[in-house]
């Protein structure tokens, strides 16, 4: 138990920031991204003894994060919060207003349609290959290729004033 806890601590010291930011990019909601990251931590600890080393630890953790985010995306709480019925958590607004004009790229990612956002985050932010992203998401490689391609088109459009012109 203690050994597992130490192992998880090491893993999250190494990959915690990436997991939190991955959740943020997918969920586009800071409070929920933080919840998701905490859930990843708990789930990883609970499942550590099931981890067989078939994939790299980082890939395994990101896969857990993707699954946690998917659950949140499907939740009524998320849909309600993103539909504007419930105001954004205050800290979010403060944080983002403070970072205004400094978060163009992450904003562009978070503005992608959900169907392309996950693929974009995995391939363009996390740096996974299409094959690795395909294994993480359970989608076919052709599907991931298509989604990344569409995501790039949308990102190019969204960021053209900042980076592409």
């Amino acid at each position: 138990m203690k050994k597992d806890a130490e192992k998880i601590e090491l893993l999250f010291n190494k990959y915690g920031d990436e997991i939190l930011r991955t959740c943020m990019l997918i969920l586009h909601n800071r409070a929920m991204a933080e919840d998701a990251a905490m859930t990843v931590y708990e789930n990883a600890f609970a499942a550590l003894h099931h981890f067989r080393g078939d994939s790299k630890e980082r890939t395994w953790l990101i896969k857990i994060a993707v699954n946690v985010c998917r659950s949140i995306l499907k939740s009524s709480a998320y849909k309600t919060s993103m539909s504007g019925e419930i105001p954004e958590f205050a800290a979010d607004k403060d944080d983002f207003s403070a970072l205004e004009n400094k978060t163009a790229v992450s904003d562009a990612f978070m503005s992608l349609p959900e169907v392309y956002r996950e693929a974009a985050v995995l391939c363009l932010y996390n740096g996974f290959t299409v094959k690795e992203a395909s294994q993480i998401t359970g989608k076919s490689q052709s599907t991931m290729t298509f989604r990344v391609r569409k995501a790039k088109e949308l990102l190019r459009e969204a960021l053209k004033e900042c980076y592409y012109e």
Binding site: D35, M38, A77
Partner: protein, 365 residues
């Protein structure tokens, strides 16, 4: 490292896991040992019986108790005391700002359980209409005959919502899925909210239908309500060939595709908030082939609106090329029909297909 990675890490540099960890208390599951044991134990029990009722008594109950020896005696004591001692709603060191009340909105389909709680800001607290509430919590579903399963269904999360005059009460929904035993109507179960002292509790309002445990958790007792029978649907294409069949329960839909086009068709747990009326089923096609859902009317003519009370929503970014359909199929009528039209604007030829689905819906009345 990609340019995207560098720029995003730079933009989000204030978001670090260490900072988050310091700010929030992360509760590590203490059921790891139990989990290891439970897999073997479940296999053992499953070999003997296909379905284990949580109200099992006698030999089976003893068997389960032997396999899962009680670990938390204080919890057992609390459960045993529940009916005979007055509910103690006084907890020391509470914030005394919120009431936590379990609602009667309990939905169960045997394998998934959804419960709702009301978190109410009490009148004694200083109230500011601009206040935000942000609570973290974790909860356990407790099977009294399998005490050591007390962490099964462990779930955690938090929610935040602005408090205003008309929103003093927040609805908190917990869904426990993948239950290790089949729940049946009339079963008495418990839900434990950990660290309740930090979340709640106003002892004077009378809203708390719970008991405070020694560790500060709030223990709720409830009875599983009547469980409706599932509905089976078979969807056929225009040639009468089965496209997929689906099983609807109040909380889930499980579908099996006969056509590879739906090979990514996901099972789906339906949040109670999305249940409009009895058995309105939320079918999330979740396919990566952008489609434009249409419906057939009674005469099998295409229509933009759903037939007979059905409805659909489409998540779109405003560009029809990026639609993500979510189709609702109503069971209020005798038949629901859905037609999916793939977007002809897409350049990938394989997405340009037409498919019609017709399902015979059993009469719910």
């Amino acid at each position: 490292m990609s340019n995207f990675r560098k720029k995003i890490d730079n933009e989000l540099e204030s978001m670090t896991f260490n900072e988050l960890k310091n700010r929030r208390t992360i509760k590590i599951r203490h059921n790891k040992k139990m989990k290891r044991t439970s897999a073997a134990a479940i296999a053992l029990v499953a070999a003997a019986v296909l379905t284990v009722s949580v109200s099992a008594t006698g030999f089976l109950g003893n068997l389960i108790r032997d396999v899962f020896p009680a670990r938390n005696s204080a919890e057992l004591d609390a459960i045993n005391r529940y009916d005979v001692e007055p509910v103690n709603t006084t907890a020391e060191n509470t914030m005394e700002l919120y009431d936590l009340t379990m609602s009667n909105n309990i939905i169960c389909d045997g394998n998934i359980l959804s419960v709702q709680f009301y978190v109410t800001r009490n009148d004694n607290g200083e109230f500011n209409s601009d206040d935000f509430i942000s609570l973290s919590f974790s909860s356990s579903l407790i099977f009294p005959d399998i005490c050591d399963y007390n962490d099964v269904g462990y779930d955690s999360g938090s929610f935040s919502q602005k408090l205003s005059d008309d929103k003093r009460t927040l609805i908190l929904t917990r869904i426990f899925s993948d239950l290790p035993v089949t729940i049946k109507s009339g079963d008495e179960l418990y839900i434990k909210f950990m660290d309740a002292q930090k979340l709640i509790i106003n002892s004077q309002s009378g809203g708390g239908n719970y008991q405070i445990l020694d560790d500060g958790a709030a223990l709720f007792k409830f009875s599983v309500p009547e469980i409706p029978a599932p509905i089976f649907l078979e969807f056929k294409n225009e040639n009468g060939e089965k496209v997929f069949d689906a099983t609807l329960t109040p909380l889930s839909i499980n579908a099996t595709a006969a056509d590879p086009i739906f090979d990514e068709f996901d099972s789906y747990i339906i949040p109670p908030d999305d249940i409009v009326s009895d058995y309105d089923a939320f079918v999330d096609w979740n396919i990566d082939k952008p489609t434009n859902p249409r419906f057939l009317d009674e005469n099998l003519n295409y229509t933009d609106t759903a037939y007979n009370g059905s409805k659909y929503t489409v998540n779109s970014d405003g560009n029809t090329q990026h639609m993500m359909p979510e189709c609702y199929i109503s069971t209020n009528g005798s038949r629901a029909s859905v037609i999916f039209i793939d977007d002809p604007n897409l350049d990938d030829a394989k997405y340009i297909e037409w498919l019609g689905c017709i399902a015979e819906i059993p009469d719910m009345t």
